[in-house]
């Protein structure tokens, strides 16, 4: 028989893995996300008490659902003296909810849960927090830590969001077909926000790393629920291919390492393979969306054995397609970088300036950093150093300043040794 602490770890893992599905099933019974989470939490407490003594039941998830259901009925009955019409209806629903021998025999309602948590009537940060809590099964403490918030602040945010869902009339259901495209875009945005949150910063890397993994896990859940949605697959591919390079992106001191200097042996081949497979499926199925295009660019980087043999011409072509969908400074600057390797830095700079970037992007740090690099590679050192200075003046992140300073110094010292 496993030791109590082993059982506890097993229970914690199981609950984390099944949390979203369980919350979704329970919310489906009464339509009330708050109550579903509360009674599932009650059931988890009971499980942690009973299972270490009796061992895990044959169908732990069915046990949790049955227990949570009893707890919900208890909670509603206790409130009976002041039970309003809505609660009386809820009680009836809970009492008549289907019994399940196994969770798998109940319909998977995680998609409804995801849409509820990502409803546009909730503010963005609450959508992110709620999705991590209800779908991902992260604890309030874990979410607070990831966003460097106090636990009480995060708990209050989650409570407020759930209260709004109930009182504002956000129903636990799939959006109408005509609303679906916008609402799915909203969900993808939430997942990408979670993913990028995990990639920002370096000091607290360990816990932020969890958020990237979590976003990928949520992406897998979403693609399982929406197997035909190309952009959902595109986003999952993009996250996998970006995350595959995570270890190589930071030096031992946490400093940022640019793509050309990354040790490609440290890239995660498993994630790359999965990402590329998804990209191929998506590109073969119709016109690619913005996430899929970015994933395709990531796939070309991942497939290149080294920086020099990257297929830059195709990357430029993909950026051109992306520009048609998202004409923004990020795409413009990244395209100029790709162009500088596909042709040469001088051509890339002329093309970048021809877009009027010099006027529009004066306040955009990556523009100046890009110009600096293109100038330096043409041997125009003095101009490059001026551009680096502009970029540094627009940067607040210490690690970026360190990186840009190092680049600028390298240009200056190369200039000196040449003369």
């Amino acid at each position: 028989m496993p030791s109590p602490s082993q059982t506890e770890a097993q229970i914690t893992r199981l609950i984390r893995e099944e949390w979203g599905r369980l919350v979704a099933v329970l919310t489906g019974f009464g339509g009330d996300l708050s109550l579903a989470e509360d009674c599932l939490q009650d059931a988890v407490v009971a499980a942690l008490e009973v299972w270490p003594k009796s061992g895990l039941p044959d169908a732990p998830d069915a046990w949790l659902i049955a227990t949570a259901r009893r707890k919900a009925i208890d909670r509603l009955r206790r409130a009976r003296t002041k039970l309003d019409k809505a609660e009386a209806v809820a009680l009836w629903h809970w009492q008549h909810a289907p019994e399940a021998e196994e969770l798998q025999t109940l319909p998977d309602r995680r998609l409804e849960l995801i849409f509820t948590c990502c409803h546009p009537a909730l503010d963005e940060k609450s959508r992110v927090a709620l999705t991590l809590r209800a779908v991902g099964g992260l604890t309030t403490r874990e979410i607070a830590a990831a966003f460097l918030d106090r636990q009480e602040t995060m708990a209050a945010r989650l409570t407020r969001a759930k209260k709004k869902i109930t009182s504002a009339g956000i129903r636990f259901r799939l959006p109408d077909p005509e609303d679906l495209p916008d609402r799915i875009d909203g969900v993808l945005k939430v997942l990408y926000l979670i993913f990028n949150e995990g990639h920002r910063g370096s000091s607290d890397q360990l816990m932020r790393t969890d958020l990237s993994e979590e976003a990928i896990r949520l992406g897998r859940i979403l693609t399982a629920c929406l197997p035909d949605h190309l952009e959902a697959k595109g986003l999952l591919a993009l996250m996998l291919l970006t995350d595959a390079r995570r270890l190589a992106r930071r030096g031992p001191d946490g400093a940022f390492i640019p793509l050309e200097q990354q040790a490609r042996s440290r890239w995660d081949r498993g994630k790359i393979h999965e990402g590329i497979t998804l990209v191929e499926q998506v590109l073969g199925s119709g016109p690619p969306g913005a996430y899929a295009l970015q994933a395709a660019i990531g796939a070309l980087h991942a497939e290149a054995p080294d920086f020099a043999s990257t297929d830059w011409t195709q990357i430029v072509a993909l950026y051109d397609l992306l520009w048609n969908l998202q004409p923004n400074p990020v795409v413009l600057v990244n395209c100029a970088v790709a162009q500088s390797y596909a042709t040469d830095p001088s051509t890339a700079l002329v093309q970048l300036e021809a877009t009027g970037a010099g006027q529009h992007l004066q306040a955009y740090q990556p523009y100046h950093a890009c110009c600096a690099d293109l100038l330096a590679r043409q041997g125009r050192s003095a101009e490059a150093i001026v551009a680096y200075d502009r970029a540094i003046a627009l940067t607040e992140a210490p690690e970026e300043i360190t990186f840009l300073n190092a680049r600028s110094d390298a240009v200056a010292s190369a200039e000196k040794s040449d003369s």
Binding site: D84, S167, R171, D179
Partner: protein, 116 residues
């Protein structure tokens, strides 16, 4: 459940009486109201007189204070409302998007409280 859709806009924005756009604008309002009625959703709905007609009152220590003007001096003012019987917020959002002023001003959606 019932929702109140509060219609806010800057006075003078949107089609004005005497212009070519005004007729179709009012027509769109009548069309929306009729549609809500036909679908059994309309509880009530009215437009309000301009904000120049507003008077705001409060009672403090038994004394009534009356002030000329609206509660809040904001650019966008309450100009009218609908109360609709709808399934959920998603439906309310769809109805709100059909209110002609949504193209010029803003619609605030508030569920009506139920006391039972």
């Amino acid at each position: 459940m019932q929702f109140m859709l509060l219609i806010y806009s800057q006075e003078g924005s949107g089609p004005q009486p005497g212009t070519d756009e005004f007729g179709p604008f009012i027509g769109a309002y009548m069309g929306f109201t009729q549609k809500m009625k036909d679908e059994g959703k309309l509880i009530s709905g009215e437009g309000l007189q301009p904000v120049a007609t507003a008077t705001t009152l409060c009672v403090r220590d038994g004394k009534t204070h009356t002030v000329d003007g609206p509660f809040a001096e904001t650019k966008e003012q309450l100009g009218g409302y609908y109360i609709l019987e709808l399934a959920d917020l998603d439906e309310a959002l769809k109805c709100a998007a059909e209110i002609p002023t949504a193209n010029y001003g803003r619609i605030e959606i508030r569920p009506i409280a139920v006391y039972d």
